[in-house]
Symmetry: D3
Subunit: 263 residues, 6 copies
Amino acid sequence: MTRILITGAAGGVGAMLREALQGYAPLRLSDLSEMAPARDGEEVVRCDLADRAAVDALVQGCGYIVHLGGMSVENTWDVIEQSNLRGAFNIFDAARRLGPARVLFASSNHAIGFHTRETLLDGDAELRPDSLYGLSKAMGETMARYYWDKFGIESVSVRIGSCFPKPRDRRMLSTWLAPEDFVSLVKRIHEAPRVGCSMVYGASANRDMWWDNSHAAFLGWVPEHSSEQFRAEVEAADPPRAHDDPAVIYQGGIWPVAPHTGE
Amino acid sequence: MTRILITGAAGGVGAMLREALQGYAPLRLSDLSEMAPARDGEEVVRCDLADRAAVDALVQGCGYIVHLGGMSVENTWDVIEQSNLRGAFNIFDAARRLGPARVLFASSNHAIGFHTRETLLDGDAELRPDSLYGLSKAMGETMARYYWDKFGIESVSVRIGSCFPKPRDRRMLSTWLAPEDFVSLVKRIHEAPRVGCSMVYGASANRDMWWDNSHAAFLGWVPEHSSEQFRAEVEAADPPRAHDDPAVIYQGGIWPVAPHTGE
Amino acid sequence: MTRILITGAAGGVGAMLREALQGYAPLRLSDLSEMAPARDGEEVVRCDLADRAAVDALVQGCGYIVHLGGMSVENTWDVIEQSNLRGAFNIFDAARRLGPARVLFASSNHAIGFHTRETLLDGDAELRPDSLYGLSKAMGETMARYYWDKFGIESVSVRIGSCFPKPRDRRMLSTWLAPEDFVSLVKRIHEAPRVGCSMVYGASANRDMWWDNSHAAFLGWVPEHSSEQFRAEVEAADPPRAHDDPAVIYQGGIWPVAPHTGE
Amino acid sequence: MTRILITGAAGGVGAMLREALQGYAPLRLSDLSEMAPARDGEEVVRCDLADRAAVDALVQGCGYIVHLGGMSVENTWDVIEQSNLRGAFNIFDAARRLGPARVLFASSNHAIGFHTRETLLDGDAELRPDSLYGLSKAMGETMARYYWDKFGIESVSVRIGSCFPKPRDRRMLSTWLAPEDFVSLVKRIHEAPRVGCSMVYGASANRDMWWDNSHAAFLGWVPEHSSEQFRAEVEAADPPRAHDDPAVIYQGGIWPVAPHTGE
Amino acid sequence: MTRILITGAAGGVGAMLREALQGYAPLRLSDLSEMAPARDGEEVVRCDLADRAAVDALVQGCGYIVHLGGMSVENTWDVIEQSNLRGAFNIFDAARRLGPARVLFASSNHAIGFHTRETLLDGDAELRPDSLYGLSKAMGETMARYYWDKFGIESVSVRIGSCFPKPRDRRMLSTWLAPEDFVSLVKRIHEAPRVGCSMVYGASANRDMWWDNSHAAFLGWVPEHSSEQFRAEVEAADPPRAHDDPAVIYQGGIWPVAPHTGE
Amino acid sequence: MTRILITGAAGGVGAMLREALQGYAPLRLSDLSEMAPARDGEEVVRCDLADRAAVDALVQGCGYIVHLGGMSVENTWDVIEQSNLRGAFNIFDAARRLGPARVLFASSNHAIGFHTRETLLDGDAELRPDSLYGLSKAMGETMARYYWDKFGIESVSVRIGSCFPKPRDRRMLSTWLAPEDFVSLVKRIHEAPRVGCSMVYGASANRDMWWDNSHAAFLGWVPEHSSEQFRAEVEAADPPRAHDDPAVIYQGGIWPVAPHTGE
């Protein structure tokens, strides 16, 4: 089994993946923050993804990179550029020079957050970021295309909805990505004979869907969980909103109307 | 729960809905014909939808209008225009002035009846009415777009196939909309946080399908019934036809070749 | 030469056409208002287009109908429905029963007025009316499709921009249809061996264009005039507006934000 | 029940069909090779499909032709042209002159084999043959369109993936068409009231899919088998390949890089 | 200058080209029929294009093949297959084995003749042949794609309208390709640094156009002639037809309704 | 007249613009390098676009920004990110906070350089950068979309081909943008009542075109120059290349095959 590098392994999704992939393949785990010590089949490496030499060392010997690292919420452009753009560049360029390695690029629904929720998005949807964070993810997807066209580096950009143990509000009933479904997607991308340069929406088999993954049927990924089990609980805790409330209009929820950090 | 206005409540579909929605929400029931007296949670109002003031009174206080009223089969232009166009205008305009209210506009497969049955229709299918009735439904869908673009009145146009207790002929094996499935659609449109200006094909999960509702996946409506249970019975009673019989060529069945009323 | 019926012949465009087509073909001129007396090769018939029998008499013997008649600006739905929908129905249905006659249906830019001006519209543009008037024109185009699909009645819907002797404001620098160009279009539709059921945007060869007629290249219509000759004069008289002024946002100008008549 | 002609009835798929359709309808079985003797409800006719008179006799009295005959693998152009093009022409032309008969044309994934496997193909996919064999199948599909447009001969081109008792290599895990699923498709095409001129991808409900049959939903064909049951066995026997191995790049497997026969 | 092979050089178009290209490049002229003797810079070779060895000798040493040879009107399938399919195969395969040579494949408007004339065709138009001749041309275009995808053989399929000294009937006013415009196209394809696998509609800058060549703008071919100069003469000699006359409905004129040869 | 800010005003294109716009509007000229002293109607400000405060001061008081500044050729990611991404962010964000100002974003053909030259690109072409430089330009276009969707900042991304006094090689015969044509485009974007968020290909009316600007017809920009006047001179100096030479395959010329800077 190819060694898998997981960046951002100390974060919520990263830590969950670490557990789920124990024993599946040798893992190299990286984060800027402290992580639990390495167990069998694991290497743990603290690393600033903005440091090119450090990233090179990280990527060396890995055939598959699950790139979750960087800033996962809105921030200033300075922070976003440093964490997300420079980080993504260092990863893709190391995958080229030291690989080839296949990359799962953790993109986000905020890369397409300005679409309204009554608009079904498929593999050709226009990038419409709703935040500087989302902009960096959209830019990362274009970077993935560049590394594919020019150097043949395979990647799948996963526009992750909301990957938490359970949905936290009404919007997440649509965007929820069950951790188990993300794990199965990470494995499918690992095991597929070829992924080219693809994009997948990261959502479970929820009732109300905004995204159509049929263009990626070749991956054979079929989510098996649904937010429906949490509906009653979520709806009880989160009051309904008017149809023209931004939280209801946009796929990105309130992000399209949120100010820049610090303003 | 928002009060629901059902127009055409004395018709087959209307009466079925009335029963099914008992206790679900307060209902206001309207028809030109006599209806059974009001029960708990019901108001019964006889009303000519061509009468603007009467429609205003009807709409007042309702947040959701299931507009089934008007002529539901072919007739002369005079009748169709009066019943269907003027009626739809009065409903939409009252929804604007006295609402905003969300509208379920009962459109019809006859708004797209000139497409052949080997043509899969999706959310972008061209309007190709097969009758003056179908023309009025197509026009009503354009009216829905106008009220959305200009006034933000939400609506879902439902191109109803054949909503009867069971399919009556071979064609209806494809177009059948189980009453229970229509009820669940009516509820989904009521409960969705936002519907924008949408269109849904009204058919159950039948085996041979001409329509693709994936563009409306955000509604979360999944029909659960199928005409398949009635196939043997229907096929025994309705002999097969040649592939170039109009009843078999067109999605609208024989309507595309039917003369105008009275000719 | 086939006899040509011009409805709305007392209006500005109608009167212009009457002059321009003198001697080109026998003309039957109709309007609700009084018209100048018939000259050689002309018949003059006052007629209410809402009167079916009168329209039948009008259409009898004509092979080509230039249907300009009806309300040409915004009004109440009662008036619009009576003048524009009933009128169009009477015309198309007479063309079917007493013809076949080919129809030039005077549609309008207000049938697509909600599109922004930076959106190029072609033969597949969605109907997005900006007014009840525009809605009636959009509906008339669907009626044209019905009469073609079901009865083979040929028609061209012309989405007329602004057909005046010269542009009256900055917006009309884009939408202007020189009278001479409309005349050549009327003739091209008359002389074309076949027009099927087509749509043409009615604008001259102006500098800043929102519409693409390439789908109708088979007609061989090439406008030869441009609003550019009037630019200096128009710009001097009409001050510029901000980019987010509705008059500048929408193809329909201020119609998308105009209230209903009388409100 | 209409008599069914099966050409290529001595081949693997043909012989399988012969068994499966026993008792379903009267069968006429044809091949260039020797076949088992006729049983009840069967006729067995040895025939060279390149012989027009012989094909005429074959088609006479059949309402449905399952045209499997011809060369089913790569060969020289001389052989391919004679077996596949002339054969297809004789079949379609006999279906016109002696029928009308409905035709199931056995096309192939090699008619679209140059598409990469990360490209989802639907009803509009471009023909991109990967071999002279695939070229003849692509040409046959165009022939089907000609016979439909000009003579109204109905046909369904089935782009068969890999119709064997079980998948033989990793690629076939995606392209496998379970014999039972092909049988159900053959029956659906027989029984459908109308098929027009359609195309269906012939694959079972496998996990990793390259093809989207939603455009043919009107047929009501839903494959019920999956290659998943054979995955472990196949993967054990067939080692994985690099993502840039032609066998993994192309839908046609190694055919796109195979030389012409004899070179 | 690369040596140019012209097949079909004794035909009308071929002979015209021969004259026009005198002195432009060394020419090899081939036909089944007798041709005028070779002049300076010319080779004249009688050749049956169905003879593979003869075609090989023909292609040897040529960098550009203008393939006009074969049957240029409707005939039986036997003749069409032999002349047009086998001939095209021999040309393309020789271009591969003995070249690479660039191919101008003389396709035809009859490869798309079933489209109606009010349908604008562009680079994505569906193949809809109207005759066995047209079918062979459509098949040849698919062959061109195969030789490009698999072997990198460059080609341009030119869907020639009507290449005569002047248009012969009303339909040709739209389809006319002035000989001078064809000559300039032949040169542009010769001189372009790269043509890939392209398709161009072969018509002059006529008034009423059915075809859009913008997808091939990279070639820089701009026809400079128009049928308009012949309109009066042609219209005087060829009476107008009804809009539902096949000669007026279809781009292929009466070919879509012509019987097979000998029937 | 609104004050115009030109960044990169010391570069070739910037200096040309400075001359051309003398007297057209008040100019503020900025560059990292030294510039000629300010003349009447000019302000000259040296400024590092990576310095947010300096950019704020630059943008203050300008209604239109012609953003040419940054690195205009390939370089390391460090340099590109700093010059082009941070620079673009500072410009767009200042246009939002201190404006609103309209932005002409100088994008590049290298943002779409991986398309082949036989592929016509229009307003929907996919971003396919061929270099880190091109990647930064593609990212800048996505940034423009973000500032439009979220803050209503108008912009036009101009994918400049080759803006030099004359074309320097054969490829530039297609990509050449005459300085005078760029000047007229800069003015059209300045004067247009509304530009929304648009994209224009920056090439003159050259003979062999790869780009289609019809989607931007609303701007009324019609280039008036052509590289044809320089063809003989350019072709004499630059020998032709094979059709499979990268310089001939890709719209980006040899950039798609150039290594990263320093490798």
